[in-house]
Amino acid sequence: MTVAAGLGYALIALGPALSIFAGVVARKPFLVLTLLTSTLFWLISLIILSGIWRVFLPITSGAWWPYVILILTSVAFQEGIRLVFWRLYKKMEEMLDSFADRISKPRLCLTDKMLISLAGGLGHGVAHAVFFCLSLLTPAFGRATFYVERCSRMPFFLISAVIALGFLVIHTFSMIVAFNGYDERKRSDQVFAPVVHLIASVMTLMNLAPDGCVIGTPLLCVMSAVTLQYCWRMVWQRLSEHQHRQFNS
């Protein structure tokens, strides 16, 4: 539906990511590189998943259980890969710290580490939004629009943009929570990210039912709000503890 609509859908999906990028990530070049690396990493995870699933596709049967298996395996794989991502990050952090020691600059402080995990999460969210939503938006720049039968109330592009937005928020902020959990070895934070990811993905299964997206999509937005709130609380707590400790020491 014209360039304006196409751009609108793209901005719905990626607008917050763009503002986070412009406001936070673009100021430190290292975070830009982290973002690019993270996006590449999650793209590779998607490619591996599609490689595994290629033989079983296309799923032509109308049954819903193949999709359940698809979602469950994909989420499990991605959460497993997150641990690998964490290991890579730890290695890089060590190198950065040793380098900082060499040139006598202060080591990475807490906000730095959180910024890196934000960039990493943003990379995950951007990879999701770009590959699931943005790459399908090309026809939206043309003259017409498209509806799917199962969700006939809104154009397909709008639904996928909103879902992509929800997942972008979830991925970005659950990465911060997850990294914090691995760092502090807090169980609740460590399981938060996989649980939220799983619940959100299972919610999209509701879209398989006719008009299921009317229920599924608002619930997804609720999940992203929950993630945001949890992350906010955790960061606030951690920063004020850190501040307190610094002041007292």
Binding site: S50, L57, R102, S104, P106, D112, I116, F156, S201
Partner: protein
């Protein structure tokens, strides 16, 4: 109570604001990634506006089918098969090799005016002919009202101005110089995407293979050229994109090939050096410990730098370093001897020579002549820009999903090349890793990823 009052401020506001390593690290890489990305973006835009897809992707085919039956178009024209593609690619590589040897010969004969004239001629012809062609296509596509007389007036003027800007960096603002180089790269890359599909892919792979051979084999033309340049301490006249602004005090940007010095401190701003350091330490390579970097700074910071450099690393004050790095908009920094060369056909492709360490006290402030002068950060030859953009432009002709995947692959390849550079510390070509990754990702995306993502997204299933 002081405690409560002090605890009142918002956590994070009163956080220590001492600059950490994170603030400035990676800036030089970002400064080369940005123009590469811009060039690729412009080529993708041009391709989407001006070209018709060679073979429609399943996505657009699905939409047209759902919309009530479009006719499927055939795949590929008759003349585009593998044998013609290979023949064309091999011919091109042979032509490039011959041209590079000719370039080396001219350089050997110290015929610099010939080289400069050739440079000027080719950049002017690219801007005039290809630029005019693209402009005409755009005008007709966008239905922009412009009469022939104005066009005939505007085009040669713009072409001449940009050619001048591209060739003499010292006489124009740095942004214009960089924009002119990117414009030349965009136009050439767009022209390459007009070739048939198999030919383009064969050409890319052939150029990547040629690059490896030309730089690493002992008889390779690039290596010969490079060694000549080192011997004579001269710059090869060519079109190079330089990531840092050229210091306007210096007339030319000479790059020197020198041995690494011992001693010296590490430069916090140079990511490549950081990588080299980290890799060196990790592998326990002792020789890598002497990175021998000294940063040359522009005038107003010479004193500050001299003070900072006089101290041993352990004593260097943080404030000095951070103010150095943050306040300067054009710090002229020098990287270790990490050469990466890439010469291309027709002066577009240029030796990617990374600047050498220069003793800071010796800095010669005079303009002209072959001097020990400063040089910028990472330089990338225009040929690299062109072939990266050709790959992405060709991916754009299929679908945008391949564009995103290939973009990430190419940037990753660029990063890996810089890593290898920091590790091996010898001349390395810039093209092969990125092109290889790009082609691999293109194939993987087209065969595997697309089907998977389409299946999920059209059912509104996401994870």
């Amino acid at each position: 109570m002081a405690d409560a009052a002090a605890a009142a401020p918002v956590p994070g506001e009163a956080a220590s604001s001492s600059a950490t390593v994170l603030d400035s690290l990676g800036e030089d890489i970002t400064r080369i990634v940005t123009p590469v990305s811009t060039c690729m973006l412009l080529v993708v835009l041009l391709v989407s506006l001006l070209s018709s897809p060679s073979s429609p992707s399943p996505l657009s085919a699905a939409f047209t089918a759902a919309g009530g039956g479009g006719t499927g178009t055939g795949n590929g024209a008759g003349g585009d098969d593998i044998t013609t593609a290979l023949v064309t690619a091999v011919t091109f590589v042979v032509a490039v090799t011959a041209a590079t040897f000719l370039l080396a010969l001219l350089f050997y004969l110290r015929c610099t005016p010939c080289l400069r004239a050739y440079l000027g001629f080719s950049s002017l012809s690219v801007l005039l002919l290809l630029g005019g062609h693209v402009a005409l296509l755009l005008l007709s596509r966008l239905r922009f009202p412009l009469d022939a007389v104005s066009f005939a007036l505007l085009l040669p003027n713009a072409a001449a101005a940009l050619a001048l800007a591209a060739l003499s960096p010292a006489s124009v603002p740095i942004a214009l110089h960089q924009a002119a180089l990117v414009a030349i790269a965009v136009l050439t890359a767009f022209w390459f995407t007009l070739l048939p599909e198999w030919t383009t892919w064969a050409l890319l792979v052939a150029m990547a293979a040629y690059d490896v051979a030309a730089v690493l084999l002992p008889g390779g033309p690039l290596r010969v050229l490079l060694e000549l340049a080192i011997e004579r301490n001269e710059e090869i006249p060519a079109l190079v994109y330089e990531a840092r602004p050229v210091d306007p005090r210096h007339g030319q940007n000479w790059r020197l090939w020198r041995d690494r010095q011992s001693g010296g401190e590490l430069d916090a701003n140079s990511t490549v050096e950081v990588i080299g350091e980290m890799l060196g330490t990790n592998l326990g390579a002792n020789s890598a410990g002497n990175l021998g970097i000294s940063a040359t700074r522009s005038d107003e910071q010479v004193n500050l730098a001299a003070d900072a450099r006089n101290l041993r690393p352990g004593e260097t004050s943080v404030a000095n370093l951070s103010s150095d790095s943050s306040s300067s908009s054009a710090p002229v920094e020098v990287l270790p001897a990490l050469p990466e060369t890439r010469v291309s056909v027709a002066e577009m492709r240029v030796p990617l020579i990374q600047p050498q360490p220069v003793r800071s006290r010796d800095e010669d402030d005079d303009e002209d002549g072959i001097g020990l002068s400063s040089s910028g950060a990472i330089k990338l030859g225009l040929g690299d820009f062109i072939f990266y953009s050709v790959l992405v432009g060709r991916a754009a002709m299929y679908d945008y999903m391949t564009v995103y995947a290939c973009y990430l692959a190419i940037i990753a390849g660029l990063g890996i090349t810089l890593l290898l550079l920091a590790f091996y510390r010898k001349a390395l070509p810039a093209l092969p890793v990125s092109i290889a990754l790009g082609v691999v990702f293109y194939v993987l995306t087209r065969t595997l990823l697309e089907a998977f993502l389409m299946q999920c997204s059209t059912n509104l299933l996401m994870f």
